[in-house]
């Protein structure tokens, strides 16, 4: 048994040197370059990064986190969730509640209650809002509420061995139900309007360019951090068990693994990632409403992942940037025709890039290798 070592695939390393360099570059871009270009380089200069661009990229980075989360559960574990929009929204609402309270008495009605409560006849804060003025408490809620929901929901669903499309559909049913619930004004979260008109975060005016930049940087770092974590997970044996579950769950069981624990762990983690993304999204975009829980919103997350390339981690991130970038650009340049382009894009990607954008890169690099060889 001499040569068994060369059988091991080259892993153990989280990233190769090139990979680390790319991560560092990304980190520097968001922490140094972007603030520089936005805050220091004067407006009108060719290299100035506009507030609009900062907001747009910030938003897309939040989406990228969702796509990454989707990749863990869908790409690697084979479970298509149509409920990630809900986790995203719950995270967003958690943050939004805090921001609403930060408005204080500066609202339209100069009341301690958020405006929508005033004109909908709430006389006091509903119980769910009790500690919403505490930043720490709300941040804990951002993680705990979606996390617990995912845990409980996942526990029952996985225990009942709900799989495939059945799982997708009940996640969708859950999300849809939550959306209807949040649309109701009686639920106490602002109904269709949701929360808007934020003024401050941690006492700092939210509209200040510096505040916005802080949020941007924070989002960027979170994305990078989540990426590294996800990479670590999928490269561990845990990650391979996930893939095995995707390929042949019964075989996994007959080998002695309990798929429930694995699925539940990755499902909950994925949900929490989305929730964090939601919490980062709300102060940057300035509104959270139940629209985020629509079926389309969740499907779109899956689409970013698919367009980028499933089970590649970096692919879904690229996908989120690509699709949302394209959407922003199309709506601007072809406001009346952009849906044609977007639709055609989705069709083209599926037909010609079954591995997504990442597959395209792979193709190129393997071609290069071939020609070199």
């Amino acid at each position: 048994m001499t040569s068994s070592l060369d059988l091991t695939p080259r892993r153990g390393l989280l990233l190769g040197p090139k990979g680390w360099a790319a991560v560092m570059a990304a980190a520097i871009t968001v922490t140094v370059l972007a603030p520089l270009l936005n805050l220091v380089v004067p407006e009108g200069h060719a290299f100035h990064l506009s507030d609009y661009a900062v907001a747009l990229i910030g938003k897309i980075m939040c989406y990228a986190i969702c796509a990454l989360a989707m990749d863990l559960i869908w790409g690697y574990t084979g479970i298509l969730s149509l409920g990630h929009g809900l986790f995203f929204a719950l995270g967003g609402y958690g943050m939004g509640m805090y921001l609403m309270r930060q408005i204080g008495r500066d609202g339209n009605y100069k009341s301690d209650l958020p405006d929508f409560m005033v004109f909908l006849d709430w006389k006091e804060l509903p119980w769910a809002w009790t500690f919403s003025d505490s930043f720490l408490f709300q941040m804990a809620m951002v993680v705990l509420v979606p996390g617990l929901l995912a845990l409980v929901f996942g526990f029952f669903a996985f225990r009942s061995r709900i799989k495939g499309v059945y799982f997708s559909i009940i996640t969708q049913a859950m999300t849809f139900a939550a959306m209807l619930l949040f649309f109701r004004n009686e639920t106490g979260f602002g109904g269709n309007n949701g929360f808007t008109d934020f003024k401050r975060i941690l006492g700092v005016p939210i509209a200040l360019p510096e505040t916005r930049m802080m949020l941007f940087v924070l989002t960027g770092l979170t994305l990078i951090g989540f990426y590294l974590m996800a990479r670590w997970i999928v490269h561990s044996k845990f990650g391979r068990v996930l893939q095995a579950i995707r390929d042949a769950e019964s075989r996994v069981m007959f080998t002695g693994y309990d798929p429930l624990a694995y699925k539940l762990a990755i499902w909950t983690l994925s949900a929490v990632m989305c929730a964090v993304a939601g919490a980062l999204y709300v102060p940057q975009v300035g509104i959270i409403n139940p629209g985020e829980m629509s079926a389309a919103a969740s499907i779109e997350i899956a689409i970013w992942a698919a367009v980028g390339g499933r089970a590649t981690l970096i692919g879904p991130i690229l996908g989120a940037f690509f699709v949302n970038g394209a959407k922003s650009w199309f709506t601007q340049v072809f406001p009346e025709f952009w849906l044609y382009f977007l639709g055609a894009l989705f069709i083209a990607v599926t037909l010609f890039l079954p591995q997504g954008i990442v597959g395209l890169f792979d193709k190129f690099s393997s071609k290069k290798k071939e020609t070199r060889a």
Binding site: K163, Y166, A173, M174, A177, L180, R184, L342, P354
Partner: protein, 507 residues
């Protein structure tokens, strides 16, 4: 200028002007005055007023019918609801004494809808006394009783109260309740009779309500069924997560719209029958679009269901925008043919609208067709075989490509039929499909993927459950509860209602 000449035999131009011009109070007074003469010649004029065929200019009244015209400066006579109500009442009263039993029946029907008061008693008594038709007579008797129950004569009140227990009118129920309110009716005998009558009426009404829930549930269920049937083929059988299913429905609805317009333009006489042509056309158009999609896109994606999700999502965006460019972003009007408008009155508080009845019947016809086609024909066998194992099907000699196209087109065509049906009850607009796609998937999945019978039960079950819950929880909460029920239900049956059991489920 034929100044009212043909109409106003008994109606002087001044009388007509008084009815047509002025504020509502004076117009109604004038109308009632003319009506009191019970002159049947008044009827055509009132009819014309109701139909908006009367114009005025300089205090003169013109009836614009056929080739009769009014000066350019003439303005429409505008009737508000109150005026219209009065006109209808007058017309009703006139009709009540008509020699034609059918006309009288209509009149009674119209009267039924109005709240009667003492003033109408003489009219009703007269009609009641003169009525020869037993059915009409008893209905008039009931109307008479509703007035007499408040009479000052105890005997009359008692008789009326007893008579009223035969009624099944919601209005009678509230009338009885009013009479029973403390201090209104004091005579114990009458009170007793009122109480008995109230019980009887309430019992009948409760039945109406229960049946109503069942019917609305069945109606919603049949819509869900139609919407889900096509998907049961494209998704359930073929495994294509067809997000464009809704848009194929939309295309069917627009096809119906186009057929309707063509009829309106070229065959106005047969307009009421446009739907008969619209059904096959909507099927064909959607099926053709489906065939084109299958040939160009879906074809390459078999065995990769999640990719079909992505591609069909793209397709749905394109189709929606396509319709927007072609027909505009607004909804378009699809009219119900006359024979599908209105409904049959089964009970006083239960009307079964014709279009909903038609859709229920239609849904079951389509279901029967699909079932036969899938389970009883060779094509159906091939479709099932091909969708299970495309490669092997080719290896037993089945032209799989063609079968795939047929199957997908069939699913698409049924979506088109659903669209045609939906055009009769809801919106026809570019977003039509979006509203149903989630429901469609819920139904197919709850029933069990690939299980036609499951789809049927799920559709009807969800429809009735939804309407039952709506009864006391309101539309939103009911829907939420239904969704929660689906989640719980799937826990119990992780493969849907009609789960495939045994080894073949894994295959």
């Amino acid at each position: 200028m034929a100044l009212l000449a043909p109409v106003a035999h008994a109606l002087t131009p001044d009388q007509a002007a008084a009815i047509a011009i002025g504020d509502t109070d004076s117009r109604i007074a004038a109308l009632n005055k003319s009506a009191a003469d019970a002159d049947p010649e008044l009827a055509p004029f009132v009819r014309a007023l109701l139909d908006g065929e009367v114009k005025t200019a300089d205090g003169k009244v013109y009836v614009v019918q056929g080739d009769k015209t009014a000066p350019d400066t003439a303005e429409d006579v505008i009737n508000n609801n109150r005026m219209r109500g009065a006109l209808e009442a007058a017309l009703g009263a006139l009709k009540l004494v008509s020699p034609d039993a059918k006309v009288r029946a209509e009149a009674v029907e119209e009267l039924r809808k109005q709240s009667l008061d003492e003033a109408q008693l003489p009219l009703i008594e007269k009609a009641w006394a003169a009525e020869s038709d037993a059915g009409l007579k008893s209905r008039l008797a009931l109307m008479r009783a509703t007035i007499l129950v408040s009479s000052s004569d105890v005997a009359k009140r008692l008789a009326a109260a007893q008579a009223l227990s035969a009624s099944s009118e919601p209005a009678v129920k509230s009338l009885l309740q009013e009479r029973l309110a403390p201090g209104v009716e004091t005579d114990p005998a009458v009170r007793g009779a009122l109480m008995t009558a109230l019980d009887a009426v309430e019992g009948r009404l409760a039945w109406g309500e229960r049946l109503g829930v069942l019917f609305t549930g069945a109606s919603l269920g049949s819509i869900l069924l139609l919407v889900a049937l096509g998907l049961a083929i494209t998704y359930g059988l073929m495994g294509v997560i067809n997000m464009a299913h809704g848009e194929l429905m939309m295309i069917g609805a627009y096809a119906t719209f186009v057929v309707q317009n063509l009829f309106r333009q070229y065959l106005p006489g047969a307009f009421d029958w446009y739907i008969v042509l619209a059904i096959p056309v909507s099927f064909l158009v959607s099926a053709l679009v489906g065939a084109a999609l299958e040939r160009s896109v879906i074809r390459w994606l078999y065995g990769r269901p999640l990719e079909t999700l992505l591609a069909t999502w793209g397709i749905s965006l394109v189709l929606m925008q396509g319709v927007r460019s072609l027909f505009g972003a607004q909804n378009v009007a699809v009219e119900n043919p006359a024979w599908l408008s209105g409904g049959v009155q089964v009970m006083s508080n239960l009307i079964l609208p014709y279009n909903r009845l038609a859709i229920i019947a239609f849904a079951f016809l389509v279901l029967a067709g699909v079932t036969l086609m899938i389970n009883r024909t060779r094509l159906g066998l091939f479709v099932r075989g091909v969708t299970q194992n495309r490669r092997m099907a080719a290896c037993v000699g089945i032209p799989t490509a063609r079968i795939d196209t047929y199957a997908f087109s069939l699913g698409a065509g049924i979506a088109g039929l659903a669209g045609c049906a939906l055009s009769q009850v809801g919106n026809v607009g570019p977003d039509l499909g979006q509203g149903y796609i989630v429901d469609a998937f819920m139904v197919v999945v709850t029933g069990g993927v690939g299980q036609l019978a499951g789809t049927v039960y799920a559709a009807l079950g969800l429809g009735v459950l939804n309407k039952f819950l709506e009864g006391f929880a309101g539309a939103v909460l009911a829907k939420i509860m239904v969704l929660v029920c689906i989640v719980i239900f799937i826990q119990k049956r992780p493969q849907g209602l009609f789960a495939m059991k045994g080894r073949s489920a894994e295959a």
